[in-house]
């Protein structure tokens, strides 16, 4: 038995998320007194994979088939199943991002494994195996017992830190044995966001609501985000109006995020909005209405006009960074 960590790559690169997952897998394996390995699908260079030793991964299985780039859900699940069998994995860990959400349920059926998504932290107990996750979109937490011998966990993004181990990593060539016909997803075009901090990865998020009044006013938010190295987000009406792209919508029906710092500008703090952001470590709210529910959820607040506060924030951050 062992713990297997699935490490995604982005055009051959690993992100902080991968190192978080590596740290998590290594800690989990230590707790269970099991060996840990990782699997990488797609072309990633050896030096990059070897950096995983720093976070406690002694061996990486690497299948460099480029067809994985089509992100075909069933092919990736099949490859992970082969890797899980080869490593005799009893627990597979992956990210709770778009790919992890797509692939983990398929793998769970193949492995006859109990699946819990968006797990927070290490198991509360290992016998029985109980993990904690957010439910009712941020309104509560549940303790879930996974009763099956095989288990799959997807780790909530940005909830587990990095733990350094400084091991040497062995790379093992791995061939999941997939044929061209296993890849059934035809990609017509891709547009990857480059040069911008992605909402799911961001440690700081600058978000705007209807109080920002118009799409044109986002320049101020973008400037603040830019100098903070933050991602931008918005409330649902803002994306419904087309002021901002759908991918920025956070909340019950948008993305659920957990940055270290969340700025809410002109957002009332409706319960559906808070569901998506309440796991943020620190929330800062700026709203001209002292009764706005966002102040109930915030750690720091300013009752005031976003258009007066934003320029002061921008100046103060510039000073801080100088």
């Amino acid at each position: 038995m062992s713990v297997l960590v699935y490490l995604e790559n982005w055009d051959g690169k690993l992100k902080k998320l991968s190192y978080e997952l590596a740290s998590y897998g290594a800690q989990l394996a230590e707790k269970l007194q099991l060996p840990v390995k990782a699997v990488s699908l797609g072309k990633v260079d050896e030096a990059t994979l070897k950096t995983l030793g720093k976070y406690g991964i002694p061996e990486v299985l690497s299948d460099t088939n480029e067809a994985y780039n089509t992100l075909d859900n069933s092919a990736i699940a099949k490859a992970l199943f082969a890797a899980a069998q080869q490593t005799n994995a009893s627990i597979v860990v992956m990210a709770n991002n778009n790919l992890g959400k797509a692939v983990s349920p398929r793998l769970a059926v193949k492995m006859k494994a109990g699946l819990v998504s968006a797990v927070q932290g290490l198991p509360i107990s290992t016998e029985p195996f109980v993990v904690k996750k957010m439910v009712f979109t941020g309104k509560a937490f549940a303790h879930i017992n996974i009763k099956s011998a095989h288990k799959i966990l997807t780790l909530a993004v940005n909830t587990f830190g990095l733990v350094e181990k400084n091991l040497d990593t062995t790379l093992t060539a791995f061939d999941a044995g997939l044929a061209a016909s296993d890849f059934g997803t035809t990609v017509v075009s891709s547009n990857k966001v480059t040069g911008k901090v992605l909402l799911q990865d961001a440690e700081i998020v600058v978000s705007g609501g209807r109080g920002m009044k118009a799409a044109d006013n986002w320049g101020l938010l973008e400037e603040l985000a830019d100098i903070l190295g933050a991602a931008t987000a918005c409330s649902r009406p803002v994306s419904d109006e087309g002021w901002r792209p759908h991918a920025e919508h956070v909340g019950q029906t948008g993305k659920i995020i957990a940055p270290n710092l969340y700025f809410a500008f002109g957002i009332s703090g409706a319960i559906q909005h808070l569901g998506g952001v309440s796991s943020s470590k620190v929330i800062v709210a700026v709203n001209k209405d002292p009764e706005a529910p966002i102040f109930q959820a915030a750690d720091y607040g300013i009752v005031g006009d976003v258009f007066k506060v934003l320029p002061q924030f921008i100046e103060a951050v510039k000073e801080l960074k100088a």
Partner: protein, 247 residues
């Protein structure tokens, strides 16, 4: 082509969640139940496709795994425009259990639409599991879907961008935000018609749940929000740097 839309029955999004005395289950008293918001958008899109492509879409069927209380939610889906409903009579124990029940009725449908997650336990699993049980292709995080001859034109979000795909049927699409703009609201005529549409109740198949809820807890209460004056906004940046240490 036939479309199946999976329907989760979840507490209204404004519900204040409470649990029973030993915190082992939700206290359902006073809870209003609705169609899971993503499933509502999926159904809306299915209806739009039927309106746009007419004869190419033979019927839209909605399915739920649940007890008789969920029929009001299924009737609403019929009122919005689904042609038939199926209720599989079982408690939705966990994702694999639900997917196994759905697999018994879903194989006939060329296109199956599931939501990305149910707004109750946020499992994010039933759609993908059903695809695997049926051994069919799936695409997840779908934010747009259209018919183009025999093919489906699909937009999906990936981690770090978006893609356009061209997919053949049969397919299971796990949908999210963007798939339809606004959910359809049932009109009076739809509500009248829904009463006459078939709602078939099917007995549960044998299936196993691999996970179980043990305990629920509410998030810890937040400390009071620290307020800063509007004209002192710059000092808040210093506080975030020095006190909260998040900058």
């Amino acid at each position: 082509m036939k479309i199946l839309v999976l329907i989760g029955n979840v507490p209204d999004t404004t519900t204040k969640i409470k649990f029973n005395a030993d915190n082992t289950a939700i206290d359902a008293s006073g809870v209003q139940w609705i169609i899971n918001p993503w499933d509502e958008l999926a159904l809306t899109r299915a209806i739009e496709l039927k309106e746009a492509h007419g004869a190419a879409i033979e019927k839209i069927v909605v399915a739920n795994v649940g007890r008789s209380e969920t029929e009001a939610t299924l009737r609403k889906a019929l009122a919005v425009g689904a042609d038939e409903a199926i209720r599989i009579d079982a408690d939705p124990l966990d994702a694999l259990y639900v997917a196994t029940q759905l697999a018994a009725v879903a194989a006939d449908y060329d296109l199956i639409l599931a939501g990305i997650e149910n707004a109750d336990y946020n499992g994010t699993a039933v759609g993908g599991m059903l695809a695997e049980l049926l051994n069919r292709k799936s695409v997840s995080a779908v934010s747009g879907i259209d018919l183009e001859g025999d093919l489906l034109k699909i937009s999906r979000e990936i981690d770090g961008g978006a893609q356009q795909l061209s997919m053949s049927l049969p397919l299971l699409a796990v949908v999210q935000k963007g798939i339809a703009k606004e959910p359809r609201i049932p009109a009076m005529r739809g509500i009248m018609m829904a009463r006459k549409k078939p709602l078939n109740v099917i007995a549960a198949a044998d299936a196993e749940a691999l996970t179980a809820f043990e305990y629920f807890e509410l998030p810890p209460a937040k400390a009071a929000c620290k307020m800063v004056e509007e004209d002192q906004a710059a000092s808040l940046i210093r506080i975030l740097h020095e006190e909260a240490k998040v900058l």
